[in-house]
């Protein structure tokens, strides 16, 4: 149920984000989900891509600092309170969400949210136990 996410360290300089998207597009890698967290000086770009290995290689070769983080793609009921119920569950189990962001595409009528947990294994176990759907890595890239 775990997915590999690319994390890229970016200085807040004009054109750095565009440089990443250019490299990926030239390597024919699709960006499936994206989030950018930033401060006044630097940012971290997080990506779920169609081809992790290729993306990692082209970015590294171009001199970017690239990290690999394990995240979980969770299907959330597209109805009021859907996300809230999920977060409550996690809180009760003392699992922290380091960050989360929405997947570009939906899975049927449901939203897909990418989570980074402080305790990934326990989170997967908990969610499986509660019959919450998670999307495996291979499937996620095809969405």
């Amino acid at each position: 149920m775990k997915c590999d996410q690319l994390s890229i360290f970016l200085e807040n300089r004009a054109g750095r984000l565009a440089e990443v998207t250019r490299l990926l597009s030239e390597a024919k890698v699709n960006i499936r989900a994206l989030s950018l967290a930033d401060t006044s000086d630097f940012g971290i770009l997080r990506l779920i891509v169609s081809d992790f290995e290729t993306a990692q290689k082209v970015l590294k070769d171009a001199g970017f600092t690239v990290g690999k983080t394990t995240v979980v793609a969770v299907v959330v009921d597209d109805q009021p309170g859907g996300l809230h119920t999920l977060l409550d569950m996690l809180r009760d189990a003392s699992i922290n969400v380091e960050y989360m962001y929405a997947f570009v595409q939906q899975s049927g009528n449901n939203a897909v949210i990418i989570f980074r947990f402080d305790r990934t294994e326990q989170a997967i176990e908990l969610l499986s136990g509660k019959n919450i759907k998670m999307i495996p890595s291979e499937e996620l890239c095809k969405l």
Binding site: E11, D41, F42, I44, T65, E98
Partner: protein
């Protein structure tokens, strides 16, 4: 083992008496025999009899490397040429070479101080000392050589170069002590690995490393890879050569200065005034016993600090901290002296960073702003903002704590700081641009 127990464990009060006696003799000698000093004393309106206590040292003139160059080759010698038994010279990487001469007694004193140094490192007459310092005009080779003999150890006079042969000799002759530069020690290890020789299996137990700056992390790397104790030795040809100060095996916390022969001071390189006790500044040395070319308050340009607390090895000789840089590179930020090498050592010790950094100083109103740009290291990169911000705060805290100056920390992408083949450009000072 302590080679010269009287001198090395002398109570401070007694040592200071000896230093003062020798300082007075030195002033008489240079005033009478070295025209350069006669002139300097007269310019300052002082005479040798004005030196009544060690604190009068600050009345004496400084001697700079340039003074030796200006009197090239033998102009600062204090004895006639027939009393000189050996000449050494430092290579002139940044100008004309400096030349020094030794009398018979200077050579004897030097050998004794090097023998002390070996004993400080834990060596005994039973040891075999492999000497990979170059033999020749450079003081490293011969300095180590005669010290090992004075100790009564076995010297293996290998000199530099021919790395594969060095390794065979180290292995076949069973060296227990290695003398070379710290970077050459790592090179020996790498080459040994290629030859299928594991240094960890050899009887080598101690490394005495000097002649170039190194860091604590390099020490750990050498100790780990070669399975030895790595110790720092200090010396410079203008003062004598290796053996001016030596780090003891017991404490591995600073280098014992041969204070009965050399009187150390730490000064602010800008003002020439002594710094507060324990503060970092430029090391200045007065040679108390040298005959060939005695020097008064020689400015080494090396940055360090002194520790007078008694050492667990039993020696009372003051300890100088590992040299952290050159005073030529000093910056003054909001009145605080900052040396790039000090910031470098903080960055090197911090996980998650590469050793590539740049210091930018600009002025905002009347305030100097120091920005430290440092590249994040690819392999330990965290993808959480809060972790990177914690890293920035940690660097900032360490700089504040060790240097007393607040810096802005800016993490930058790898390879974004310009690399140069020669001396890296580490400082951009923009303070005079917008005035």
């Amino acid at each position: 083992m302590i080679f010269d127990i009287d001198k090395e464990t002398m109570p401070r009060e007694e040592l200071e008496k000896l230093q003062l006696k020798r300082l007075k003799q030195l002033c008489e000698k240079v005033y009478a025999n070295v025209p350069f000093y006669t002139k300097k004393f007269k310019e300052l309106g002082i005479e040798p009899k004005d030196i009544k206590s060690l604190s009068d040292l600050s009345k004496l003139p400084f001697t700079e490397k340039q003074d030796l160059r200006n009197h090239y080759p033998f102009g600062l010698f204090a004895v006639s040429r027939e009393n000189i038994v050996r000449i050494h010279s430092s290579s002139g990487t940044t100008g004309k070479a400096t030349v020094v001469g030794y009398t018979k007694r200077d050579i004897k004193n030097w050998a004794d101080m090097m023998a002390r140094s070996f004993a400080i490192a834990g060596a005994t007459p039973a040891d075999s000392i492999h000497n990979a310092y170059g033999y020749g005009l450079f003081t490293g080779g011969l300095g180590v050589h005669y010290g090992a003999e004075a100790l009564g150890a076995t010297i293996i006079p290998m000199s530099g170069g021919a790395t594969r042969r060095q390794i065979m000799v180290i292995k076949d002759f069973g060296a227990t002590v290695l003398c070379c530069t710290p970077s050459y020690a790592l090179y020996l290890y790498e080459t040994g690995k290629e030859m299928g020789i594991d240094f960890r299996e050899l009887p080598l137990k101690t490394g005495i490393f000097g002649a170039e700056p190194w860091t604590e992390s390099m020490r750990r790397e050498i100790e780990d890879k070669l399975n030895i104790k790595a110790l720092d030795i200090y010396g410079l040809s203008e003062i004598m050569g290796p053996g001016v100060a030596m780090e003891c095996a017991e404490a591995q916390d600073g280098l014992h200065i041969m204070e009965d022969h050399f009187l150390p001071e730490i000064i602010n390189p800008e003002t020439g005034d002594p710094v507060e006790p324990g503060e970092v500044g430029e090391l200045v040395i007065t040679t108390l016993t040298k005959e060939g070319i005695p020097l008064i308050r020689y400015r080494t340009r090396d940055l360090t600090k002194l520790n007078y607390t008694p050492c667990r090895c039993g020696r009372t000789l003051a300890r100088m901290q590992r040299v952290t840089g050159r005073s030529d590179d000093m910056l003054i930020i909001r009145g605080v002296n900052v040396f790039p090498s000090q910031i470098e050592s903080i960055l090197v010790e911090t996980e998650g960073l590469s050793p590539h950094y740049l210091l930018e100083i600009h002025r905002d109103g009347n305030l100097d702003i120091l920005t430290v740009k440092v590249e994040v290291a690819g392999n330990t990169f965290s993808d959480e903002i809060k972790n990177l911000q914690t890293l920035e705060r940690k660097i900032q805290r360490n700089i504040k704590e060790f240097l007393g100056v607040t810096a802005r920390i800016k993490l930058v992408e790898p390879k974004s700081i310009e690399r140069s083949a020669g001396k890296a450009k580490r400082i951009i000072d923009l303070r005079n641009e917008n005035q």
